[in-house]
Symmetry: C2
Subunit: 203 residues, 2 copies
C-alpha cells in the first residue's frame, strides 16, 4: 500500500507550503491544483468553474421540501456538483494507487480512508493568517486588516461547509486527524523536516 499523506488546512495557515515541503523531503508526488485540472479535463468544464464548485457546498435551486415532493425533478446545480465530486473521488483514488503522495485539501482524508492516510490539519491564529496573506500579496488588492480577516474567515467557513456536506464530519475536529499543526509560531521548514522523519524510518 502506498504512503498517502493528506493535508487539510485553514486558508492563510501555510498548509500548501507545508505539503509541498513534505513531498520534496520525501521525494514523492504532490497533488493540489492538479486535481482541479484533471477534473476539468474529464468533465469538459472550465478549471475556474470546477474550482468554484469545489469551493462551495452545493446549493439546491429550490427548497428542499419541494425537492422531496417532486423527486423526479432534476436539479442541474446539484447534478453538476455531484458529477464533480464523483470525478474528484475517482481521481484521488487513482492518484493514491499510483505512488506515495501528499494531497492537499479536497476531502482526501475522508475519501481515501481505506488507504489509511496520515492525516494532517494545518492551522494558525488570525493575525498570523493575515500576515501570511499580506506577504503573499493576496489578490494584489489593497485590503485593510479587517477586510482581509473577513475574507479569510469566509474562505474557511466555505471550506468547513463543503467538508461537512460531503463527509458528515466537522472540519478541523482533531479526532479526524493524526496531527494538527499550528504554524503561528512554528517554522514550517523545520517542522516538515522533523515530520518527514516519521516516514523515512529515521525517526
Amino acid at each position: 500500500m502506498n504512503r498517502i499523506i493528506t493535508i487539510s488546512r485553514e486558508f492563510g495557515s501555510g498548509g500548501r507550503e507545508f505539503g509541498r515541503r513534505l513531498s520534496e523531503n520525501l521525494g514523492c508526488a504532490y497533488y493540489d491544483q492538479e486535481i482541479v485540472q484533471e477534473i476539468a479535463k474529464r468533465t469538459e468544464l472550465s478549471e475556474r468553474y470546477v474550482q468554484q464548485v469545489m469551493g462551495h457546498r452545493p446549493i439546491t435551486s429550490f427548497p428542499i421540501h419541494i425537492g422531496r415532493s417532486f423527486r423526479m425533478m432534476a436539479d442541474p446545480n446539484m447534478d453538476q456538483s455531484q458529477t464533480i465530486f464523483r470525478e474528484q473521488c475517482s481521481i484521488l483514488r487513482e492518484m493514491a494507487a499510483k505512488s506515495d503522495c501528499v494531497i492537499v485539501g479536497r476531502c482526501a482524508d475522508y475519501i481515501l480512508w481505506e488507504e489509511k492516510p496520515f492525516r494532517i490539519f494545518v492551522y494558525a491564529d488570525m493575525p498570523s493568517k493575515v500576515e501570511r496573506c499580506r506577504v503573499k500579496n493576496y489578490e494584489k488588492e489593497d485590503l485593510t486588516d479587517k477586510e482581509l480577516e473577513r475574507r479569510i474567515a469566509a474562505v474557511n467557513r466555505r471550506r468547513a461547509d463543503y467538508y461537512e456536506y460531503y463527509t458528515g464530519q466537522k472540519w478541523g475536529d482533531r479526532i479526524h486527524y493524526d496531527l494538527c499543526i499550528n504554524t503561528t509560531q512554528t517554522n514550517i521548514k523545520q517542522m516538515t523536516a522533523a515530520i518527514s522523519r516519521l516516514f523515512m524510518g529515521q525517526a
Copy 2:
C-alpha cells in the same frame, strides 16, 4: 531562556509516555508527579489531598450569589484550592527557570506563557484509550469496557473543568497548542523521536 515543552493530555492517550520519551531524547528534566510532591511538601498537606484538589475545579461551599453578598465570609474549600494553585504557579516558574524541561499537565502551558513554551496536546479516540488503560491494568479493577469508558470520560471532563476554571480557555482547543498529536494510530516512540529533532537543531 530555557526551552520549555508542556504536554496537556487526555487520560488514556499516552501523554505521559510521550512526555517522558521526549525528555529522555532531549536529555532534559521531566516534571509530572514531582509537582504534586513539591506542593505537598510546601503546604504541609498530604500528596493524596493535593492530587485530589488539583484534579477538580474548586467547589464553593455556598451559592455564589451569597458569596457576593457577604464578601468577608471565608470559604475554606476555596482558600485551600487557591493556596495550592498559587504554589503550583510558583513551583512551575521555578522549574522553568532552572533548566530545559518537559512538564506534563497542571496548566503549565498557560501558567508559563511568558516563557513561550512549546505546547503539545496529546489525544486519542475512545477505543484506543480504553485499550491503553486495559494494558496498564487501570487500578487493577475488573471493569467492563463501558465502565472504563465512563471513567475515562469523567477524568477528562474534570481535567477540562479544572483547566477552564483557572485559565478561562477551552481545554484541548487547538488554537492554544502548537501541536496536537493523535496517538490512536501513531507509534509514540517514533513520533517523539521525530518531534525531538525540532529541538535538537537536526530537523
